[in-house]
C-alpha cells in the first residue's frame, strides 16, 4: 500500500461570547482588581459566580465581594506547561477558596516546586499588569503568609462594564484523508481521475471515500473515469467570491454537477468557455488544467452533441 498523504491542519476560532449580568460583573471586577462572588438562597457564596444556583436552579444575582487571599483546597504539579496555560515555567494547578467564598476557583499557583505547595496553604492573587476583563486578568496565585485581606465593600456596579469576551482557541492536527482519498489525490497529480467501484452494486464513486454509501461495504477496485463528462444540473452564481483564490472569476458564472464518463456520482465544478446563459443540462464538458494546479481549474464544452437525458437521469 502506498503511503497515505498527511498535512498539517490548524483550526482556529475566536468565539465571541456575550456575558450575563453576573459574569459581566465578575470579569469587570477582575479588570478593577475586585473579586466578586454571588450569594445563593441558602447563604453560600460562589466564586467564580454563576447565574443559577447549582442546587436549586434559581436565578441568583446577589453579588458580594470576597478577598483576594485564600486557601488551596487541592493542587497538582504541572512540570511541563502547555501552550496557552497561565505560566510558562513549571507551576501548580490549584483550586483556591478565596476568603469569604464557599467554593473554589481554578488557576495556576506560582511556586518553585512541588515541595513548596500543599493543600491548606495560604495564597493570594497576583494580578496581570494588563487587564481586559477576563479570567486571565488573574496572572496566577502566589504564596502569602500575611493576614486575610479585607474586601473593599464593592457593590458590583461598574461605570464601564465588560459585556463580552473573545474566547480564542487554536488546535493543531495532522490530517490524513485515508487510503481511498490518498489514491484519488495522487492520481489527480497525474491529471487522472480515479474512482472506486462498489463490489455489491457495481457503482463507481468519485471522489472515492472507501465505502459505498448505499451498500455500506468497503470499496477497493480502482476505476479511471472521465476525463469528459456531462452536466447533470447547474446553478448561476451572481455573487462575487470573497475567497482570494477565486477573486478573478467574474460573475455571473455557472457552477455545475458533472458526471464524468464511467462514474455513477457527479462531481461539482465551474463551467467556463461558454456564456453563462448557454449552459444546459446534458452539455458535454472536459476539464481545463492550469500549469501546476492540483485539480482542474474549470470545465469547458467539448463541442460534442448534448448527451441524451436518459443517459444521466439517474445521476441527477
Amino acid at each position: 500500500m502506498p503511503e497515505v498523504l498527511k498535512a498539517p491542519l490548524v483550526v482556529e476560532f475566536p468565539f465571541t461570547r456575550s456575558l450575563g449580568p453576573v459574569q459581566s460583573a465578575f470579569l469587570t471586577g477582575l479588570r478593577e482588581r475586585v473579586v466578586l462572588g454571588v450569594r445563593t438562597g441558602d447563604g453560600r457564596t460562589l466564586v467564580p459566580p454563576v447565574e443559577y444556583d447549582p442546587v436549586t436552579a434559581e436565578e441568583i444575582r446577589d453579588l458580594t465581594e470576597v478577598a483576594p487571599t485564600g486557601t488551596v483546597t487541592t493542587w497538582a504539579w504541572n512540570h511541563a506547561p502547555r501552550r496557552g496555560q497561565p505560566l510558562t515555567t513549571p507551576f501548580a494547578w490549584a483550586l483556591v477558596r478565596l476568603d469569604g467564598a464557599d467554593t473554589a476557583l481554578l488557576h495556576a499557583l506560582d511556586v518553585p516546586g512541588p515541595d513548596a505547595v500543599h493543600t491548606g496553604m495560604r495564597v493570594r492573587i497576583r494580578w496581570a499588569e494588563e487587564r481586559t476583563g477576563a479570567i486571565t486578568d488573574i496572572a496566577c496565585f502566589e504564596p502569602y503568609d500575611g493576614s486575610r485581606a479585607q474586601p473593599t465593600g464593592h457593590t458590583g456596579e461598574f461605570a464601564d462594564p465588560v459585556t463580552g469576551i473573545v474566547a480564542a482557541a487554536r488546535l493543531d492536527y495532522t490530517y490524513s484523508p485515508g487510503r481511498a482519498q490518498t489514491a484519488y489525490i495522487n492520481a489527480l497529480s497525474g491529471r487522472r481521475t480515479v474512482g472506486e467501484r462498489c463490489p455489491a452494486c457495481r457503482k463507481v464513486y468519485v471522489p472515492p471515500r472507501g465505502a459505498c454509501p448505499t451498500c455500506g461495504v468497503a470499496t477497493s477496485e480502482q476505476v479511471e473515469v472521465g476525463p469528459r463528462g456531462t452536466v447533470t444540473t447547474f446553478c448561476i452564481v451572481n455573487i462575487k467570491a470573497a475567497h482570494t483564490a477565486n477573486l478573478d472569476i467574474e460573475v455571473p458564472y455557472v457552477y455545475a454537477h458533472i458526471a464524468l464518463d464511467g462514474a455513477d456520482l457527479a462531481l461539482h465544478g465551474r463551467i467556463g468557455g461558454i456564456p453563462y446563459d448557454e449552459v444546459r443540462m446534458g452539455l458535454r464538458v472536459e476539464p481545463v488544467w492550469t500549469e501546476g494546479a492540483r485539480y482542474p481549474d474549470h470545465y469547458r464544452p467539448t463541442g460534442e452533441p448534448d448527451a441524451d437525458y436518459d443517459t444521466y437521469k439517474e445521476l441527477l
Binding site: 490530517y175 485515508g178 472507501g210
Partner: protein
Amino acid sequence: MTSAPGDRQIAVVAFAQTVHRRSSEELSEVEMLMPVLHEVLDRTGLKTADIDFTCSGSSDYLAGRAFSFTLALDGVGAWPPISESHVEMDGAWALYEAWTKLLTGDADTALVYSYGKSSPGSVRDVLTRQLDPYYVAPLWPDSVALAALQAQALIDAGDTDEPALAAVASRNREAASANPHTQLKGPVAQGDYLVRPLRTGDCPPIGDGAAAVILAAGDRARDLCAHPAWIRGIDHRVEAHGLGVRDLTDSPSTRLAAERAGAFERPVDTAELHAPFTAQEVVLRKALRLGDGVVVNPSGGALAANPIMAAGLIRIGEAAARIHRGESGRALAHATSGPCLQQNLVAVLEGEPR
C-alpha cells in the same frame, strides 16, 4: 425515564470493537469503523435494512472537521433512507437514546456505534474545549491536569495513595492481557509524573478505535441471541459544571444514576467502569458501593484502551458480552464524559436464569 415500563424488555444482542491502536492514520474514520459495523451485524445475521433505528456518537473536535459523523454514515449504508440520529458524546449516550426509542415501541432493533480518532490532534488540548469557556477554558487546563487535581483531593482525604493507584493500574492492565482488542496490556511501568500525583501509568493510552452494539426488544432479542443481555435500567446524571463547586472525592451523579437504574436492588457480579484515570476507579467504587466480590473491569477498562467517544459504549458492550458468554448473571456498566467524572451513565444488565 429510568426503567423499562410495562413488559417491553430490551437487550444488547451483539457487540464488536476494533483492535484499538495508537494511530490508524492510514484509515479514514469510515474505513476504521466499517469492519466493526459488519462484524456486529454478522453476529446477528441482520442487514442494514433490518435495523429500525441507528444512533451514533463521535466528536468533531477530535477530527478537526465539522459534521464529521456524516462521512462515517457511508459505512452504514443509508439507502433506502434510514432512521438515524447522532450525539456529540460517547456512544453510551447514543445507546441511551436508542434504548428510549425501543421503549416507545417505535423500533424493535437498533444499531449503536461510536468511534474516535485521537491520533490526528493532541487530545489533552482538544478536551480543553469542552470546559466552561468563560472561567476555565482560557487557562487551557488539560485533561490530565484536571484528573490530577481529583487524584490529589482523594489522597488528601485519605481515600487512596500512590501505591494504591499503581495497583489499580496494574490490575486493569493485567486483566487486559486476555483481551485482544486492548492497546496496553500486561505489566506497564508506572513511569514518571505526567501531572503530579498522576504518573503515565495512572493515565489511559491515547488511541483510535470504534465500537458497535445491536439492541433488540423482547422476542426479537431472543431470536437474535442465545443469551441476550437484558437492560434492566439505565440512567445518566450530571454534576454542577464548576469544578470548585464539586466534592471531587465523590460522585453523587454516579450514585444517583445507579440508584435510578436499579443497581442497588440486588448485588452485581461484574462492573465495567469507565475510569480513564486510576483515581477515578477509587471514586466510582465508593459511589457504586462495589464490594470485593465484584469483578471490576475484567476487560482491562479504559486504562488499557480509551478510544475517546467509544470507551463508554465499550464498557456496556464488554459487560453484555460477559452475559452472552455466561460469565456474568448481573453486570453494571458505567460510562463517563467531561472532566473529573462530570457526567455519568449507569446501565444494569442481566442474563436470563439458566
